[in-house]
Structure formats: C-alpha cells, structure tokens
Symmetry: C2
Subunit: 398 residues, 2 copies
C-alpha cells in the first residue's frame, strides 16, 4: 500500500498538515456533541448517531460517553469494524438479503451478546426475514445467538427507497418476525431521507407531518393486533427538531450534526434547533497560480461532490473564494462575487504554496475517501495537532 | 480495519462475487490494451498510460509488457506506491510545491535511477522549479540524484487549470530549468482536460486544433532559443486520435481506454478510433423490492458520480433499467423508458437478491473507492474469478 501522508506529530501547527488531508476541529465537534446531548435530554429521547458518517470506532465511543445509546451502521463491514474496536450496541439500519452477509452478522451478534452488547437488524421483506432466520437455523444450537435477535421493520414514509408499505404490509412482517423464536420484533424504523435537505423549514416539517401519519397508522395497527412497539427510530440532522417534538420517536439517528457539511448549512433552521457548526475540513494547498485563478490540490478524490462542491472556509464570514470543479485532483479558485481578497493573502487570490480549508458539500462520502482524520485543538488558524483518528470502516462497502 | 469483502476463490462464478464489488472483465480489458498498443504503433508514438485511473502496480506493469514506455501518476503517494511494487519509469504529471513532498520525490528519483529507472516531474512556475532545486541542494552530494532530474514544463492549452502560459512564460521556465545542473528540461506537457468530453467529435477536434497552435508557438520559440524539445506529452482517451495524427505529440497519456466508463461511451467517435469497450463494472445486489422499483446496494460510496450516475449493463443492448440516485449506499432501479423487463428477471424488475452489473460514470474516482478489483475471465454472465488486483495507491491523495 502507499505511504501514509506525512502526519505532523501532536503539538505541530494545524497549518503544517500535509495536503490534501481531512481535519477535525475538535473544539467545534465537541460543542456539536454537547448540543446534541442537551437536545436529546431536553426532549426525553434516546440518540443513536449514525456511524456511516464517521466510520470511526473512537468517535462512536465518544458519542456513547456523551450519552448516546449506541450507534447505527449501514453495512456489514461497518458493524464488524466498529465491533472489533469496542462498540457493543449496534443497529444495522439497512436491508440485507445475502446469505453470506447474514451469516457474518449472526456470528457478530453472538459475539456482542456474549459481551453484554446487542446487534439489531432491519427488514422490509418476508424474504429477508426468512433468510435471516435460516442463517440462524443453519448453525448448530450452541453457536446460535443466546437471545432473540432484535429486528426492526423499516417502513417507507416518503423517500420511496427501502421500506415496507406502512400499515398492513408492515404488520404482516412484524407478525412474521414474531413467529420465529430466534428473532424479536424491536420496533419501527421510520426515516425520511428525502426530507433532510428540503431547504425551507416549513416545507421540511410539512413533509414530516405527512410521514408521521404513516407511522401512527402502522403503530395503531400493530397495537390493535396485540404487538407492542418498543421503539420508533429515525430522524436525520435536517429534521430532528420535528421528530423530537412529534411525541412518536423514541430514538434519533442523526449523524451529520457531528461535522455539519456545506449542504446542511444551506438549510433553513427553526427556532430551537441546535446551532451545529462546521467541524470537518479538507486542508488543501495552492499548487498553481495564475493572474485570475489559483489551483489547489483537492478534487473529487479528496471530497465527495454528490451534494455540491465544497466551499472555501472564511472562518465564519461569507466565502471570499469560489471553488470551481477542477476534476479528480484539482480545485479552481477564483475571487467570489464582491470579494477583493481572501484573508491572509495580502490582497487578491492566495499565493502559490498557501494552504486553505474547504468545507465538504457532504461529509459522509468525503470521510470514506480518507484513511485518517487529523484532530486539531485550538482552531484551524492558531491551533495544533492533538490526535489522529482512524477511519476504521473506510471502504467497508459490503 | 474492517474485514475485507468476501472474495470468491479463483474458479468461482462471477455471479457469486459479494456485493458491492469492483469487477474487471479481463478479456475486454486485454482487448482494450491490444487496441491501444496497435493504435500507438500504427501512429509511431509512445504511450505512457495514466495510472491515476487504476492505481494498480500490476496493471501498470502489464501495460508496459504490452508496449507502454512507463506510466503517468498524479500524486506523490501514487509514485511511491507504484515504485514500491516494481514500476521503474514514472512521470508525475502534476504540479507540486510543498517541500515535504518534493523531498520524498527526490528520494524516490534516487532509488529509481539506481535501479535503471526514471522519475520525471512537471512544473508550471518559477517557484516550483526553485523549490525542487532546493530540495535536491538540501541533500548531501552523495544522496542527490546521479542524473539530472527530468522536468516537463506544463503549458495551458485551453483547460485553464494548471499550466504556464504558452510562449514566453513557458520559454522562461525551460531556461530556468536549464540553469540548474541538477535538473534537465524534458519537454512540454500539453494536456487539454477540458476537451476530452466534448460530445461531437468535430467540436472536440476543433478544440484540439486551437490547442496545437499554442504547442507549435511554444516549441518554435524554444527551438529558436536553442532549446531542444525532446518530448511533447499529453492526450486523453477522448482526443488521442487527434493528438496521434497531429505530428506534434511524441507520447500519449490516456488512462481511461483501459476500462471505458459510461461518460466516455457518450462521446461521438471518429473513424479510425480504437473501439474501446467497457471493462470495469460494479457488481450490485437488489436488497429491497417494491412494485415499481428495485433498490440495489450500490450508491455514492461504491461509484463516483461526478460524471453522472452509473448505467445498468445490459450486455451491449440498450439498458432495460434506469439507475436513480439513492444516496450513499443505494441505487433505485426502475424500468427504462420503453423496456418491459431486465434480462434474466423472468419479466419486469429484477427480483430481491438478484445481482446486476453497473458501468460507472467515471472510472478513476470509482476505482479510488475500492481496495481491490476482482478479475473475471470468460465474461460476466458465464465467467469465473481469475485473480484479485490490489488498488495499491487507493487513497494516495498527497
């Protein structure tokens, strides 16, 4: 494998970090964690932050230390990587039907249960439930999970991606789970991915109101059939104020609040929303400089662009530089409309060799491009390197 | 780190490969290599395929075995990873000004020269050249490169990204290189990234004609100043027919011809262009199935979307399924306009658990998401796993 990037030792200036590199402003991240913990506490809901964002066992454990009940993951390999590094309460909030993956997860559930932990899974089809039950039944009795494996029924509340139809279809799945002694019905998974980035808060909240009708309908039907619904889990950073106030959700799953990307920053936020701040940055250097543009060394291989290009961080002020698409390895920087200079440049565009900080458009797939995140204490300008956090589940796709 | 995906042993059916996974159709790839070798030979030009595509030392060496003179790379870490795995002739076709990176590259150049190989670099600024010369001068004489380090002057021929202005600015840089005994002027780097995806071939060729005027102007100026231009290097998969016919270029740098992504397939091709075919695929499984959609387990973390979403491979026929954006971990498949069924489904949408093959929109950043590429022999439908190729420089960003 390639040599790791030159990572400065603890105590070295943040500005000396080799480029491109993923850098966490630890102070900002810890303020975000405290805001989330206080928010969940004030609303009396549990929080189980989604580790698909950071894929880092150390961060998952710090969130638990701050009050989170565990973590969500999206992939078999993520569950394995985080469990190997000490996470004990994991919910895999995605659909799985491949026998090879289910066998790995059942083995993981056995290990976690033996350590006093728990692995929960999601299902949205009869086939998926039967495959899971078969993966357990295929094991000799001594190697099966000691406790029934908790399974959430995912319902489609508006995104039209995964999820059973609310109502009768969801009820049938919960009943099917109940017929397998090796499985237990854990509750409803009701996440609306399509609502998270609706810009206007009133429209976002309206989409959630329509979604809640489906949740209520399904819960009522289940209860009428004598099935208790111990947990309703869902919510993302864009809608958590709504789910928390709904009185329906017992557990919130947001992940992005930890780092806050440029795309979430474009959302309109309601009164009472925690004031999450940007905590994840790509450090980049100007490697080519021309009269009307500066070219930096960060492109699509350093940051994901599915939710737009990164912005050039101006320490809270409106950006003085516009980031243009320069392909896989470059960004093309020009002066933003109305700006005359980026700070620290001595006027105009940044100079050859100068380094800058980018705010990724979308943090989750950006983190997945990097092997490590470098934690900085004391701010990006004056701060120093404190630690290096490994992206344990980077590339855990399956 | 996370457990590697379950990789089937050689001889197992291609269809049994765990999902999502990156898979090479080895027969198609080898036909692409043979086409490129024949094309370069017919035009009497050298070829130095760009390894930023595959980041794989084994593939770089197979290309050399097929006639390539070496490889290009874009990053310090790529040069190091490919050299560590046996590549001996490497050109880093990008701008670098960071002293730490230049020190690493000078050390690498020393190692390659000792083994009879060569590392060449690019420059587009006086500052960059001085930084490189300083990195060499900082070493004790015994640890400096034995031979002068070849440096190409990159000129901007239309993309407006990196590159000195053609003409006087490029001449000044070549003269500056000539004044440093530790450096040697290797020629001109003239690549037009902005022209590769102009759809209509006549417009693409027209953009290149304008670019060639800048190359000729610069070469003439250099020669008039008594500076020989031993090499003009450039070209991508989209324009190589034009560069090869230009009589100007002595070396072609295309990378994508090896795998041919969905975006290049949308280009219009001239008579005489090699008929490159798709050779890289993402294997994916349907994990959630509904009346009007099937949801598969490949999203932005499995394939790059900077050049559009992937297409669903229909083995050469028009796609029967449309791939819709399902976020980081999902794709949403619906029947394509006019299609009634995807082959092998028994009618309609693919079933839960069925696997499919996606053609990435852009191969370079897609490969960078994966640790390995699984080579299949005998086609995707009937073929078997032959080998596993490591993406040696995955994540080599700096």
């Amino acid at each position: 494998m390639h040599a790791p990037p030159t990572i400065p030792a603890p105590g070295r200036p943040a500005a000396s970090i080799d480029t491109p590199a993923l850098v966490i402003d630890l102070d900002a991240m810890e303020r975000n964690i405290a805001r989330m913990a206080a928010f969940a506490s004030a609303h009396g809901v549990a929080w189980r932050p989604h580790a698909k964002l950071h894929k880092c066992a150390q961060l998952a454990q710090r969130l638990v230390a701050a009050g989170a009940v565990g973590c969500c993951v999206q992939k078999t390999g993520e569950a394995e990587a985080l469990a190997a590094a000490g996470m004990r309460d994991i919910y895999l909030s995605n659909q799985l039907v491949a026998p090879a993956k289910l066998a790995r997860l059942v083995a993981l559930a056995v290990r976690l249960q033996a350590e006093g932990g728990r692995l929960a899974l999601a299902a949205d089809s009869a086939h998926g439930i039967e495959q899971l039950a078969a993966a357990i039944a295929a094991l000799p009795p001594a190697r099966r999970p000691r406790e029934a494996l908790p399974v959430f029924v995912e319902i489609n509340i508006g995104q039209d991606r995964c999820g059973a139809a609310p109502g009768a279809e969801a009820l049938a799945l919960a009943q099917q789970i109940g017929r397998h002694p090796a499985l237990s019905f854990a509750g409803l998974h009701a996440y609306h991915g399509g609502a998270q980035h609706i810009r206007a808060y009133t429209e976002r909240a309206q989409a959630m109101q329509e979604a809640y009708q489906q949740v209520v309908l399904t819960r009522t039907l289940l209860q009428a059939a004598g099935i208790a619904v111990p947990c309703i889990t869902g919510a993302g950073t864009g809608t958590l104020v709504s789910e928390a106030a709904s009185g329906l959700y017992t557990e919130l799953q947001p992940g992005s609040f930890l780092f806050m990307d440029a795309d979430y920053a474009r959302n309109e936020w309601p009164v009472g929303a925690p004031a999450f701040e940007h905590a994840l940055f790509v450090h980049t250097q100007v490697i080519s400089r021309h009269a009307e543009r500066a070219v930096c060394d960060a492109g699509h291989k350093s940051h994901a662009i599915d939710s737009g290009l990164p912005t050039v961080w101006n320490f809270g002020a409106p950006p003085a530089l516009a980031f243009g698409n320069g392909g896989d390895e470059h960004g093309i920087l020009t002066l933003a409309a109305g700006a005359s200079a980026h700070p620290g440049t001595g006027g105009g565009l940044p100079a050859l060799g100068e380094t800058l900080w980018l705010v990724p458009g979308h943090c989750d797939p950006t983190v997945n491009l990097h092997d490590v995140m470098i934690g900085v204490r004391g701010g990006l300008r004056e701060g120093v390197v404190e630690e290096v956090l490994r992206v344990d589940a980077r590339g855990a796709l399956g």
